[in-house]
Amino acid sequence: MKLTPSAEQEQFAAALHAMLTEADIPTVARQWAADDPAPGQVLWRRLAELGVTGLAVPARWGGLAAHPADLVVACEELGHHALPGPAAESIAALPMLLTTLGDDALCETWLPRLANGEVIGTLAVPPHVPYATDADVVSLVLRADEQTLRLGVPGPRRRSVDDTRRLVEVADGALLATGPAVGPAVGHALNAGALACAAQLLGAGHALLETTLRYAGQRTQFGQPIGQFQAVKHQLADVAIGLEFARPLLYAAAVALADHPTTTARDVSAAKVACADAAQRAARTALQVHGAIGYARESGLGSWLTRIWALARTWGTQSWHRERIRTALATGALT
């Protein structure tokens, strides 16, 4: 089992990083939040060109049928840049849901278009994902529970602390699927969404660590860079440790999602818990080390902070994920 990115994965990440760096995400994100999703939608097409949107789509439906580890690599990069849009939903959960459900008509209708970037999709899976993120600006909205899969009808919008997350309440629309196949498919989608979410959290945490290291080297107080104070150094070291040891859990979860159904729940949950904790520590430290300027909106730190606060509690709360691990451990899934 290999728990570090391969050379190809690193190249893929680098290409994605270069594209996103050039794309001026802060401006795109502001527009997305301010009801101007067009530039964001253009950006999602560029993601499609790089293959990101087709990673979890089978070759038969025009995708790359990539390993979930590739999905992790991509989502970490998206989190690193705080890309607006329903990434966990459209890139991970929806393709996995439709593929696992195995309804050819549904697959044929949606998967090729999700893969080529023509369609961005989102879904609500109450109670874990109570709102369909960005449902008012994307073209596929689903609503799933243990028994049924339906189209979702967008209703009132709720604001998020992260103003790029357009949270929309969705009502039941046309029934798409029901019966015993739905439960496992939705379960698989939840795992995929949680994994993608964890990867974004890790990426966002790293972005904050890098920004904060830069700031600590530049800002001087008492005649020296604040990074020279041990109190600052130790906090940043702890952030680095948290992120470093969350990553192997993330890759292990990707491997489990691909090949080890009996440990998937446990491993995905371990990844989500560790990445969310590490990212939240990164967020607190970033704010603390920046001082008041981090608290001012114009510093831009808020894009990552608010994303982390939101993602840490969606696609399963920490409590729910810990409970899944407890159950798995108690029932002897010890491998």
Binding site: Q221, I226, Q288, A292, Y295, T317
Partner: protein, 422 residues
Amino acid sequence: MSPVGTMNLDLDHETRAFRAEVRSWLAANVPTAPLPPVDTPEGDRAHRAWERRLAAAGLSVVSWPTAYGGRDVSPLQWLIFEEEYHRARAPVRINQNGLFLLAPTLFTHGTAEQRARLLPRMARADDVWAQAWSEPEAGSDLAGIRSRAVRTDGGWLLSGQKTWSTRAAQADHAFGLFRTGVDRHRGLTYLMFDLRAAGVTVRPIQQVGGATGFAEIFLDQVFVPDADVLGAVDQGWTVAMSTAGHERGLSLRSPGRFTAAAQRLVRLWCQAGTHTDPALSDRVVAGWIAARAYQLHSYGTATQEAADRTPEPPPPPGRADRPAQAGATALRGSGHAASMTKVFWSELDVALHEVALDLLGPHAETGGLRADSAGRAGDAGGADAWLDGYLFSLAGPIYAGTNEIQRTVIAERVLGLPRGRR
């Protein structure tokens, strides 16, 4: 007799009656719907009007001497007032920088003329005050400030830039430190100035939650009369450290705020029905314990303060310097013990709100976009209030001297460890 004996948590009759009076007045008068956000024009008006109502009822500044509109209550009764105030979810005190920071400084360092002129107006929020200390290049390193006051006929001319000044966008006056000499600490003077004076420009700054809770202040040859120097010229650092003691200690963030938040947290926890997650339950319990610890610690401090005010009987022969007492007095008396309080309440505040958000789960991120920079702790049910409260709590370890600075102060000044290089 102290109202709280060492081993007795019962309040005396007078204190209980005071609590009952405050509770019933608040029950009858606290607006049922929250006031508009304090940083909006409607909110500014509503919060000032609320202060006038409190003042008319004699409840705006209960710990002040009666001559300035107070009731001269004991430190313990002040704590009780604060408990009741937060328990009732009464509006945020728009003038808290004046009431909790400047006023105590005026009592210690101001002249009788300044007190008579400024305090009654402050008590009614006729004048709302902002604290103008920080500068772009001087945050933690407060003595590094560059804004200067230059002597002129009958007063001073202020020039420079202040920043992160809470409420400055709507306040009437500000107090701050200005450079009047070259010596790092002994070349600073504490001055009060009119935010509407010629030469003052205020630019509101948006905070991470969207509220414009603080502002930058640009000063260009702003005239300040001699009467508005607080303390002696060039002695501003000493005066500022006395303000800072109030900012870090009980005054700015009284325990009542956190006991109320802890109670709401417990209610949220019961409602959420998530008793089953032991990790979350443990954090609820830990938050409750810490809030109670702060409350009890403050009772002890307040009672001691009251005792210190009354003349001590001479010590019985041979027992004048019991080591335990000497140790306790040294800790409290160092003036730096407030740093311990500051680290404690600010970490507690973050912890209480973090658990609440975790209890709210995926609903935590919704609602309450506006983090008020003097925000109120959250409601039991509302995600909005908890989210606002969380954003606000995150600033606690930064303002009033960051917790990194406080820990160094505690280690060096309270515990007596060797001073490090700065």
